[in-house]
Symmetry: C3
Subunit: 305 residues, 3 copies
């Protein structure tokens, strides 16, 4: 099984193109299974623990469904209340407990670096489902798979990220993942919410990256909008200008064959009327979460029929 | 599979006698499975999502057990905290997410009409497990099944509803369901908690319905008591008269072959000593939740061995 | 299947040596299954309900994993919020509901005696997973199994309990369980947190029990430390003396072949550096939770391939 078997999946950084493509290929195999809402029994008898120290319906349901559709079972919790953590237990000790119960651990935690800490404590593979504003590598895989499904290729595309690129861990992971392909990346965000320089620097060593303060969607093959939260803006005025909202007017300037993506949940940054546009791929992107996470779990847990 | 396969189950209104009987017949088949605490594998590989925006241990456990006893799996959540809803996501978008993960959705929501909204957003069948004070159609099926089990028939019976008939969605759904049979319905409630005129009017077009302000259980084949909540009364005095409490004295006036039902949980409206009476059917009624929901899930998901 | 089949497991009191050994022997059989993170299908089609009225990640995950590794399924809840209990329902009525859904019930409840009450209401076996400061019999089984695994015997050992012996239900159950073997028990605790006289009296009828106010670990084969909570001490000064904290210095005085146990979660009572000591068995003890609970569930549910 090579690279993935038994491996912790903490960051999209440093994962090679071949390794990414290996997961994407298996996800394509699982796609009709997931979309047909049937299952396989690759992971019969295995147990996945989903530890959501910070709630996330979306990612949690997607992982749980992926494990169930592979024939496995799921344990876990959502929210700290009612966990030993609320009694003062260390993350290390919580992981030691879960390690004894499960074949792999999915962790979502509000603190950056927590997934790495968990991986160091655990004897079973740990998959990062979001650690603070740091990384969300499985979302990056879902996003790559979506680009491939929508555009039939990744190489040669122009990808525009728009919105909060500072706290949006999704775009950090996706930037690393895209840098293994032949793409051009354009970054559009409020000045106070620019993508961290460390990420930009590292990605720029591999692919062209430009930053802009004007939203121009006319050349992009993929427009990737992120969640925009009022409280993260420097000034309410800047937020209320709505310059980070995708409206039907913005869609009007997009290429006919372009794709609009968003990691969801969306609140106000996607205007009414946009979702009816066939180029709005966010619900399809979301539905890709199941086959992609099935592929990753199958790779990491090393089972195959 | 006819009528039920792939269908949303939002209301007991407008479901025909034949369609109701189809579910009751399959529930009878599943009854020994459920009561024997064994299972079948009709829904192997399928996933049910139970979305309880408003908690309900009772209905949730009953649906989960029904799905598990059919060989399927369950995902979901209970309470809004920790869902994307608490981040401001629309019900529509939550349903789009869940639709990608599950073969069918059970929803309980505090707002009237929410189950219908969910059904419109969803590409997989949606089953209403209670929307505000509106409808609770699966409870009506459980109640019909209980009447049939206890009395061996539904036609020809006199059914008395007693208690809060305004907010008790259970009795709304059951009134619609009973109106497809040849029954007489009597309604006893505080003046401020009468059954909505729209429901009474529609049911009265099909069967005789009388309203009364005096509790007379002596002629009823079935006495159906509902939960009575102090805060819903116009005056504390009226509540404290206790005229809506089933006591051993009330039981003493019931026919020997009558049945006392209650949707549970009960608080003070069933007095101590009543549950020892063999005519008190509420725990048997509750246990019927599993075979009836097994039947409904099997019908809607269209699988049969 | 004899003694265990269909039995409620409420207390370690009054369980004979032969009955304990029967579970320990089966746990040994399941040990490679649990540690290898695979499964068997002894309880295919069966459902366990885990009712945690008081949260406990540790015990809940351990029971859930045990049931899943036996091929069964799990339903349940954690925390009272969102249960009918929060609407005022009696424990009796909650149990009647769950009894209709599950093949066995695991209950954790803050009130002493609640597990016994649940068992009286239930027609299916009830397993006590901790009722207030009273009993926690399955932890006692895990502890016995750990002693046996670490020391290859129970007879002839000197066991020292150190810490809060009043509220620590774990040590109450373990004291009863050990009294069926040929062991010497030493009790070390703050004066205000001594083991209840009723427990000491009963255990002393069967094995030697001594109480001490000086921590001397030099003769013990097993040192069993408990959680020490500041708010349970009579005086902050006494707590802050730290006399109930296991430090590397204390470890230095332990026999080379001794074992340090702790029911976890641990907060401050196990000092940094202790867990690296090979004699610190608490994570191994915790991992034993799965095979031991598998054995107990298999015995109580009476299935065997």
């Amino acid at each position: 099984m090579g690279f993935w078997k038994g491996r912790d999946v903490i960051s999209a950084r440093g994962v090679s193109r071949e390794q990414l493509e290996e997961v994407l290929a298996l996800a394509r195999e699982f796609d009709p299974v997931a979309k047909g809402r049937t299952g396989v029994n690759w992971l019969d008898g295995m147990i996945l623990a989903t530890l959501f120290f910070e709630p996330s319906t979306r990612t949690q349901l997607s992982f749980r469904t992926a494990m169930l559709r592979l024939g496995g079972s799921v344990i876990g919790f959502s929210g700290e209340s009612g966990t030993s953590v609320s009694k003062g237990e260390s993350l290390h000790d919580t992981i030691k407990l879960v390690e004894a119960c499960a074949n792999a651990i999915v962790i979502r935690h509000p603190c950056e670096g927590s997934a790495q800490l968990a991986a160091e404590a655990s004897g079973v593979p740990v998959i990062n489902a979001g650690d603070g504003s740091n990384q969300h590598p499985t979302q990056a895989l879902v996003d790559l798979f979506t680009i491939l499904s929508e555009k039939q290729r990744i190489d040669g595309l122009k990808v525009l990220f728009a919105g909060d690129l500072k706290f949006g861990r999704t775009v950090h992971s996706l930037a690393y993942a895209l840098s293994s392909f032949d793409v051009e990346l354009e970054l559009y965000s409020p000045p106070s919410l620019r993508m961290p320089a460390a990420v930009v620097g590292e990605v720029r060593e591999k692919i062209p990256v430009s930053e802009t303060s004007v939203l121009d969607v006319s050349n992009a093959d993929v427009v990737y909008a992120t969640r925009v939260q009022k409280e993260r803006f420097d000034s309410v005025e800047e937020y209320e200008k709505g310059a980070y909202c995708i409206t039907p007017e913005v869609m009007g300037k997009m290429r006919k064959d372009a794709v609009l993506m968003h990691p969801l949940p969306k609140i106000t940054e996607i205007a009414a009327g946009v979702e009816a546009d066939a180029r709005a791929a966010f619900y399809r992107q979301e539905a890709n979460g199941v086959p992609v996470r099935m592929a990753l779990l199958a790779k990491v847990l090393g089972e195959k029929r």
